[in-house]
């Protein structure tokens, strides 16, 4: 029997997510005559988001961590999408404010413990990063992806030009980014291997 205690904040947020999703759909049904020729696709989209909202809310009530993570990632995407579909305004400011309060409440230690993600002391490798993986690995991967996008775009669309550019600068600069990424990844992984070596020697001796 799972005896993790559900914080009141999680209960309230989960029910608000469920109620908000259902009420949003109900409100939409009353405005069908005003929706015009896109009524079908709007109702379908709203139905899907209601189902997702109910599933996510129920998952949070049961203490399933994927419910919490889904909410934290889907809600801002929903606000941004809603903003672009219906012009950004004060209601989006309010929605974002509410979201950030929920974000804080859902990541408090009691909530994390309920979702089975309570803190336990993490070993902090004394590598170049100080915390977590080496920072150069992050930087390397980000520029590898950005360089990859630019190079690929440059190769597939070689005629793309700005008013004052004469060469395929996307491909050229993309390659520069890839070289930079390779250097960062090389340095990062080398440092990671070097920091693990003494630990492994220690464990062999042990």
């Amino acid at each position: 029997m799972d005896n993790r205690k559900r914080p009141t904040s999680v209960t309230v947020i989960a029910w608000l997510v469920i109620a908000g999703s259902v009420l949003g759909l109900v409100a939409l049904l009353f405005t069908i005559p005003l929706l015009g020729r896109h009524a079908g696709s709007i109702i379908l989209g709203s139905l899907v988001s209601t189902v997702i909202g109910v599933i996510v809310g129920k998952a949070m009530l049961k203490g399933l961590n994927w419910g919490r993570v889904s909410y934290l990632f889907l809600q801002p995407a929903g606000i941004v999408l809603g903003g672009f579909l219906s012009r950004f305004g004060p209601k989006h400011v309010l929605a974002t404010f509410v979201y950030t309060v929920f974000l804080v409440l859902l990541t408090q230690p009691a909530a994390s413990a309920f979702f089975g993600r309570g803190h336990s002391p993490q070993p902090r490798p004394a590598t170049t990063g100080g915390y977590g993986p080496d920072l150069r690995i992050f930087i390397g991967w980000m520029f590898a992806i950005l360089g990859g996008i630019l190079t690929a775009f440059g190769l597939f669309s070689p005629s793309t030009r700005a008013p004052w550019t004469r060469s395929n600068v996307n491909a050229e600069w993309g390659i520069v980014l890839l070289v930079f990424a390779a250097i960062m990844l090389g340095l990062g992984y080398r440092a990671q291997v070097a920091s693990r070596a003494p630990e492994q020697r220690q464990s062999h001796r042990g």
């Binding site: 989006h92 170049t128 775009f153």
Partner: protein, 535 residues
């Protein structure tokens, strides 16, 4: 300017990475020291680049490019006369006291060296100003994106605020620092093609000089003989003392926003090296930011009379030189500069608020978990106060100028307080407090006299420089006079806090090439050469 799907995909990749960093660091935030000071375990190359990046806000990037378009190489003084010497000074001479005292913030150092009231004044003014500046930056960036990309102003504010909130809330100072390093590389690699392509297009430096056809735009010292011979309206004395000494040292040596990055370093030598490592890339920033501004005005003289004035220099250059794809990288670099500036403000605000206001005046002697939780809530508060400020500034546009002016009132005299506090053991708490108040008062009085036309300057820039000198000198003199009239502090209380009563930093025992002073001299030699080259 319209962005293509490839541009948006680059922006999304960037957002995904900054959020992932925050998420991955969350599990390491176990104590308030982890959250506010990164557990004092970050290596110097990371804190160094973060030290630089925290200052690269939207106003800095757009403003310096605009200044390059308006004043040309005169703008380089903000770097080669202002920032670099100040960064070397804080690294070599001031950091041993900041880091060695184990103070958790700049205001806390003031409490250790002087007393509670000096700390209170600094903490309160810093907290208020930081969050307001963050909002002003946010608004400025939203306006840029609305004018040049047509993005809704609410969307720019909300999206950037939420992204910054998430990663600073989850990973605290470490997340902010890590992202600042990421943003540093993005800014450099995002803007470097602009200088390269711009110079290639215009025919190199000689081509730029010929096209500008104005010797005042390409020299940094010859035009400073008197204030009437340059467009900035300042002479060499105002430039060296006002900008170079008071304003730059005031900012780089006492502003917790940047000093906090060095305090997160893993040992004293790393803390000392932090601003010096930052000084190396900073010394090259004129080529990254000012030169594109100069190329912009040379190729598009109509910028001077456009609706947004010289502020259009950077976006117009992006528009002319960056095709879809590279444009996404350039816009992401602009976004990164804005977000690094905002995150820096937010993390400095939550540390000062939690340690110097909440823990000192509201709820002392609570558990570490309590202060960690407060810090996280204050992150939320700081971001939302910034959003609120952005909307207030939107209604009252001239507030932006007033806020920046007010901010400058506090920094210049504070440097005099620190200078005396660290290098003169006779300076007393009463002297420091009233000296600081008198310095702020002098800055305000100078401003009033200037706006009422009692004082006359060739430009607003000259008025700022002389105002800063007045504030600094007043604070310096008043602190000395009152300190001399009040009982001297006990030497035992000053150990490790002032130069005469501190051990030499451990770096003096290191080989020459590992000492902060050695690298400081190298970067100073480089900027001296640059000053001569662009004389």
């Amino acid at each position: 300017m319209r962005l293509a799907p490839v541009d948006y995909s680059i922006i999304l990749v960037y957002f995904a990475f900054v959020l992932t960093i925050g998420w991955m660091l969350k599990k390491y935030m176990l104590t308030s020291t982890d959250f506010f000071l990164s557990g004092r375990r970050i290596p110097s190359w990371i804190t160094g680049l973060a030290f630089l990046s925290a200052n690269l806000g939207a106003l800095e990037m757009m403003g310096m490019a605009a200044s390059g378009a308006k004043y040309g190489m005169l703008t380089s003084h903000f770097y080669w006369v202002g920032a670099i010497p100040a960064m070397v000074f804080v690294g070599v001479w001031m950091m041993p006291f900041y880091y060695g005292s184990r103070a958790r913030s700049v205001p806390e150092y003031l409490r250790l060296r002087f007393d509670e009231k000096t700390r209170g004044l600094n903490a309160l003014s810093f907290a208020v100003m930081t969050v307001l500046m963050s909002g002003i930056n946010m608004y400025a960036m939203a306006v840029v994106f609305r004018v040049f990309l047509g993005w809704p102003i609410h969307a720019s504010i909300l999206v950037s605020a939420v992204v910054v909130l998430i990663y600073t809330y989850l990973g605290g100072l470490t997340s902010s620092i890590y992202n600042e390093v990421l943003q540093f590389f993005l800014i450099v690699l995002g803007f470097a093609p602009l200088t390269i392509m711009g110079l290639r297009h215009i025919g190199g430096w000689e081509g730029l000089v010929a096209r500008l056809n104005n010797p005042g735009m390409v020299s940094s010292w010859r035009v400073l003989a008197d204030s009437s011979s340059n467009s900035m309206g300042v002479n060499w004395f105002a430039m060296v003392m006002g900008l170079g000494f008071v304003l730059s040292f005031g900012y780089w040596c006492t502003d917790f926003l940047v000093v906090q990055r060095a305090m997160a370093a893993r040992d004293m030598t790393a803390a000392q090296m932090t601003p010096i490592i930052a000084a190396f890339p900073k010394s090259l920033f004129p080529f990254l930011i000012i030169v594109p501004g100069m190329i912009g005005i040379a190729l598009m003289p109509d910028i001077a009379t456009s609706s947004s004035g010289y502020n259009e220099a950077l976006p117009r250059m992006l528009q002319q030189f960056y095709p879809s794809g590279l444009l996404g990288l350039g816009i992401t670099a602009l976004l990164a500069s804005f977000m690094s500036g905002m995150a820096g403000n937010v993390t400095a605000f939550n540390t000062v608020f939690t340690y110097d206001i909440y823990q000192s005046y509201i709820r002392p002697k609570r558990s570490d978990e309590h202060y960690l939780a407060v810090g996280q809530w204050v992150t939320l508060l700081g971001v939302w106060m910034s959003v609120g400020t952005a909307y207030i500034v939107m209604q009252f546009n001239n507030l932006m100028d007033y806020m920046q002016l007010l901010f400058s009132f506090f920094n210049a005299p504070l440097f005099a307080t620190f200078l005396l506090g660290m290098f003169w053991k006779r300076a007393t708490a009463t002297g420091a407090f009233f000296g600081l108040v008198a310095g702020i008062g002098a800055a305000m009085a100078h401003h009033l006299l200037n706006t009422r036309h009692v004082l006359h300057y060739a430009s607003d820039m000259a008025a700022n420089f002389y105002g800063a000198m007045a504030a600094w000198t007043t604070c310096f003199i008043v602190t000395i006079i009152i300190s001399a009239m009040t009982p001297a502090p006990k030497e035992a209380d000053l150990r490790g806090l002032v130069y005469a009563l501190s051990d030499k930093p451990p770096s003096v025992a290191l080989p020459l090439y590992r000492r902060p002073l050695f690298w400081g001299v190298i970067v100073l030699a480089f900027v001296t050469w640059m000053n001569i080259k662009f004389w």
